[in-house]
């Protein structure tokens, strides 16, 4: 922990209320270009395999958030076209809907179902309605955390701290 060395204030520009620009760093841009798709892919893998191995909607959502934030910081624009807060109600509706369907069919609320399909191409393949529920969780987590991060990214502080200037 090198914190004991007296360093000059970091990039954050701690002495002024105006932080250094977040975007436009060439190294960050090229790294992000390489990493972004990879992280997203891994996130989807986590979501997919969550039923049988470590993973799941929550984790995948957080990882997707990290990828999107990286993209947003590096390029200044988001790879996501819609307002992330809009994902939250859709995710909630999806999760609730998957719970409601078995209820309407006369089984307990949220009872999940699964089965196996065997095709020549993929071999035995398991499907589970829990994946849909997990997808809802994923959407909510991505929407909520991204909404918070984006809101903080372009916040404009209205008050200045005493003794600042």
């Amino acid at each position: 922990m090198s914190s004991r060395q007296k360093k000059p204030p970091p990039v954050g520009g701690a002495r002024t209320p105006t932080p250094a620009p977040l975007t436009g760093d060439p190294i960050l841009r090229s790294t992000s270009r390489a990493v972004f798709a990879l992280v997203l892919l891994f996130a989807f893998l986590l979501l997919w395999r969550g039923h049988n191995a470590p993973g799941g909607g929550f984790i995948a959502g957080l990882m997707t958030t990290c990828a999107l934030v990286l993209h947003r910081i590096a390029h200044g624009t988001s790879a996501l076209r819609t307002d992330p807060a809009r994902l939250v109600p859709w995710g909630l509706a999806l999760s609730f809907g998957t719970g409601l369907v078995p209820y309407l069919l006369g089984r307990p609320f949220l009872k999940s179902d699964y089965g196996y399909i065997t095709t020549a191409l993929t071999g035995e393949f398991e499907w589970a309605t829990a994946l849909l529920f997990d997808l809802g969780v994923f959407l909510v987590v991505v929407g909520a955390s991204l909404a918070i991060v984006y809101a903080l990214l372009d916040v404009q502080p209205q008050e200045t701290v005493e003794g600042d200037e």
Partner: protein, 783 residues
């Protein structure tokens, strides 16, 4: 019936979507929402003979929670009433609302309200009944506050909600007590004798009455109803005539079968109802706003209904049910009439209006019929039900009869006062061109007024409708019948006396007004309400100033000290904590060292960036600990949460100035050290105590069934999405709400993007926007 209660909610969602697209025509779709309720009519007509249908949808059988709807005569009668008035109100609002209204919102609220009301009257399960009861409070709050830019509407909505929420809490307690005492949550399945013998009987009775009185605006809770008229007029008509305010009456009518045997029941309800009748009518007589007059008149009429149902005998229930129908017909018609007057002249002030009978002949005819029914004149329905009311009060003794005559006299007087807008020379505000309203407004009103007339001319029809409720309300043995002429009875003499006194009041209106001004008390329910709410505000500001105004470190001190105290108390109460000290898992010591290193590092770091990163170290250390305990799922989650947290911290800290060494006195330093140490030790001991298993572990069950039942090999995930999916659903709801809260907090200080300086790049383009947005705000704001 289940469909009748839930169909309006479905259509409400549809209307919310259609509103911006169809505009005012959404009302025609909304009117269709009450169709299933109207389809109950055949069932209603066969009612005194056939057995009530029971529809049960199971929800949580273990808790005796079902969505049970029972179509007995009284419930069906009321449901059809709601359906009829709801349909008429929806159609009326098509013509009434202005082009700029938010139609989607309006109709969605209106239908949700109608649906909750239908659920309330049809519900057989006590818990569901309470749920629908609260939903009527919430939806009426939304309806009253529809024009939320007006402070009066906000105030009215808040008042209505506070008062009826108070009653709602009372009802919740009452429902719990009744279910405990009666051994069932089903209204029809209650063990009445067990309930009457149980100690819960009297408290449940009192709580039920509190709920009914607040909802039906009985003294002294009448204050919310007049301000509830801030809602658009079609809503007022619906609220006042058929639904919301009658919920309390319904409760008294239905629960009268449970509590009616107690002497306390009539002893409380009848005096309160009669006092409300007189006081409400007296206040109505003195209003100058037409809608306010009708609002106080509703209070008064509810008092009448309350007192009759409160008698808890066959005669009272019969008379009350007859009057319930009459009241719904004439009150809704009058509200529609007032809406027409408002619509045509632009004012509802009595002194500014007069002689409208020539300009609005149809409206005049409608108003005349409805007002005569309200005043209790033959040959209208109101006359018959008032005769029954007197008949019932004659049997209660001369005092009650005298009060009833007084109340009816005042009712007579204010009914005629209302008609003054149509009489005399033409008076209307300058610029108003009153002429007959479009048929969309007059037809619903006319239909209701003709119903009021039909109830009088064809008493057999009204009686048949009233009789449908006889089994449900237990007045089968009552021999009374509806007729315009019963012969010369004490009731008829009282009626003639009422007319004479009423006519005197009408002719001496000026003197009555003077008397009223002199008699106005300085304190009334409203001043009490406002001083109470003011008191709460003052107390809240005081509390906030004392606790929330502190510097952040001080708030942290308070929180940590509280943690230390609470954990200390827990440890004192549960000393067996110290048992598991023997087998500390030594393998995780390196991880522990990492955690401690992180914690100490934070203290030593001199700038914020380092501090955040070092704090992250503790998080990653925790992830390592999870790995050491073989929980890869948790470790993965912890890692990612930590990463996002660090990002959030860094983003939030960009705008803060650098850390300076805080001037800390030696004493405060020692205090901080003690508090931090105690909180840490307490938390550690609490965690250790939870390691001790007091019951056989549940994990083998999950290990066994996660593949068998859920089809997944990852137990944690199956647990999250299947076994405890409901928890997860709740958690993601919380996550979503938190995101919305943070968004609104962060955007709170922002006054829209238009305030960036002219010449700045367009705000949608985020890349160039970021540096531009960082021009110090102080420079933008200073002129």
């Amino acid at each position: 019936m289940t469909l009748a209660a839930f169909f309006p909610f479905l259509i409400a969602a549809l209307c919310a979507w259609l509103g911006p697209r169809l505009g005012r025509r959404t009302g025609y779709v909304a009117a269709a929402a009450f169709l299933p309720a109207l389809l109950l009519i055949p069932e209603l007509l066969g009612m005194p003979g056939s057995a009530p249908a029971l529809e049960v949808t199971r929800w949580v059988p273990e808790l005796d929670l079902h969505l049970a709807f029972r179509g007995d005569g009284f419930s069906l009668l009321f449901a059809v009433l709601i359906g009829v008035i709801g349909t008429l109100a929806s159609l009326y609002s098509v013509a009434y609302l202005s082009e700029h209204e938010k139609f989607g919102r309006f109709y969605a609220y209106l239908l949700c309200f109608g649906g909750s009301m239908l659920g309330l009257v049809l519900s057989d399960n006590l818990v569901a009944l309470f749920g629908f009861w609260e939903m009527t409070s919430v939806t009426s709050f939304l309806l009253i506050g529809l024009w939320h830019t007006r402070s009066a509407a906000r105030d009215g909505a808040m008042k209505a909600f506070l008062v009826s929420a108070l009653g709602g809490l009372a009802l919740l307690a009452a429902v719990a007590l009744i279910a405990l005492g009666g051994g069932s949550t089903s209204l029809s399945g209650l063990d009445l004798s067990a309930l009457r013998a149980s100690p819960f009987f009297t408290p449940a009775l009192l709580l039920t009455l509190l709920a009914a009185f607040t909802k039906s605006a009985q003294l002294p809770f009448h204050l919310w109803l007049p301000t509830a008229m801030e809602a658009p007029t079609p809503v007022s008509a619906f609220l006042h005539s058929a639904t919301m305010v009658k919920a309390g009456v319904v409760l008294v009518a239905k629960f009268g079968l449970i509590f009616g045997t107690s002497a306390l029941w009539p002893a409380i309800i009848v005096p309160v109802g009669l006092a409300t009748l007189v006081w409400g009518a007296w206040l109505a007589l003195r209003q100058t706003d037409l809608k306010a007059l009708l609002a106080y008149s509703t209070i008064s009429q509810l008092g009448l209904l309350m007192s009759l149902y409160g008698l808890a005998d066959a005669e009272g229930r019969f008379a009350a049910t007859a009057h319930l129908l009459n009241h719904a017909a004439f009150k809704a018609a009058l509200f529609f009439v007032v809406g027409i007057i408002d619509h045509e002249t632009g004012t509802r002030e009595l002194p500014r209006l007069g002689g409208l009978r020539r300009a609005l002949p149809v409206t005049f005819a409608v108003a005349l019929l409805a007002a005569l029914s309200m005043a209790g004149l033959p040959p209208l329905g109101g006359f018959i039900s008032k005769e029954l009311f007197y008949e019932a009060m004659v049997h209660q003794g001369p005092l009650y009869l005298a009060v009833a005559v007084l109340g009816s006299t005042l009712t007579f007087a204010y009914s005629f006062r209302l008609m003054r807008v149509f009489l005399g020379p033409l008076r209307a505000p300058a610029g108003a061109q009153p002429h007959e309203a479009p048929p969309g407004l007059t037809l619903p009103a006319a239909a209701l007024a003709l119903t009021a007339l039909a109830f009088g001319l064809l008493p057999g029809m009204a009686e048949a409708l009233t009789r449908t409720a006889q089994t449900a309300l237990n007045f089968g043995a009552y021999g009374g019948y509806l007729s315009l002429w019963h012969g010369v009875t004490p009731a008829l003499i009282a009626t003639v006396l009422t007319w004479a006194l009423g006519a005197a009041l009408v002719t001496q209106a000026d003197r009555v007004g003077d008397l009223g001004r002199r008699l106005t008390p300085r304190t009334n329910a409203n001043t009490v309400y406002y001083s109470l709410t003011q008191l709460v505000n003052v107390f809240a500001s005081w509390l906030i100033a004392r606790t929330q105004g502190l510097a952040l470190p001080d708030q942290l001190r308070i929180m940590l000290a509280a943690t230390a105290v609470i954990s200390g108390y827990a440890l004192v109460r549960a000393p067996q904590v110290f048992h598991p000290f023997g087998d500390l898992p030594l393998g995780v010591l390196p991880v522990a060292a990492l955690l401690v290193g992180g914690a100490v590092g934070v203290l030593l770091s001199r700038n914020r960036l380092t501090a955040v990163i070092v704090t992250g170290l503790t998080g990653f250390g925790t992830a390592a600990a999870f790995l050491a305990f073989r929980a890869p799922d948790l470790a993965l989650t912890q890692l990612l949460v930590e990463a996002v947290t660090v990002i959030l911290f860094l983003l939030a800290f960009r705008y803060l100035p650098g850390v300076r060494d805080l001037p800390r006195t030696r004493g405060r330093y020692a205090f901080d050290l003690t508090v931090a140490g105690l909180a840490g030790i307490g938390a550690t001991l609490l965690v250790l105590s939870s390691v001790r298993f007091l019951a056989p572990p549940i994990s083998p069950y999950y290990l066994e069934y996660s593949y068998k039942g859920g089809g997944g090999k990852n137990v944690v995930n199956v647990l999250l999405v299947d076994f405890r999916g409901f928890d997860t659903l709740g958690e993601i709801t919380v996550v979503g709400i938190v995101a919305l809260a943070v968004l609104s907090l962060v955007r709170l200080g922002r006054r829209g993007r238009t305030r960036t300086e002219p010449g700045a790049p367009p705000p949608e383009d985020l890349a160039p926007d970021l540096p531009a947005a960082r021009v110090p705000v102080t420079q933008q704001e200073r002129p």
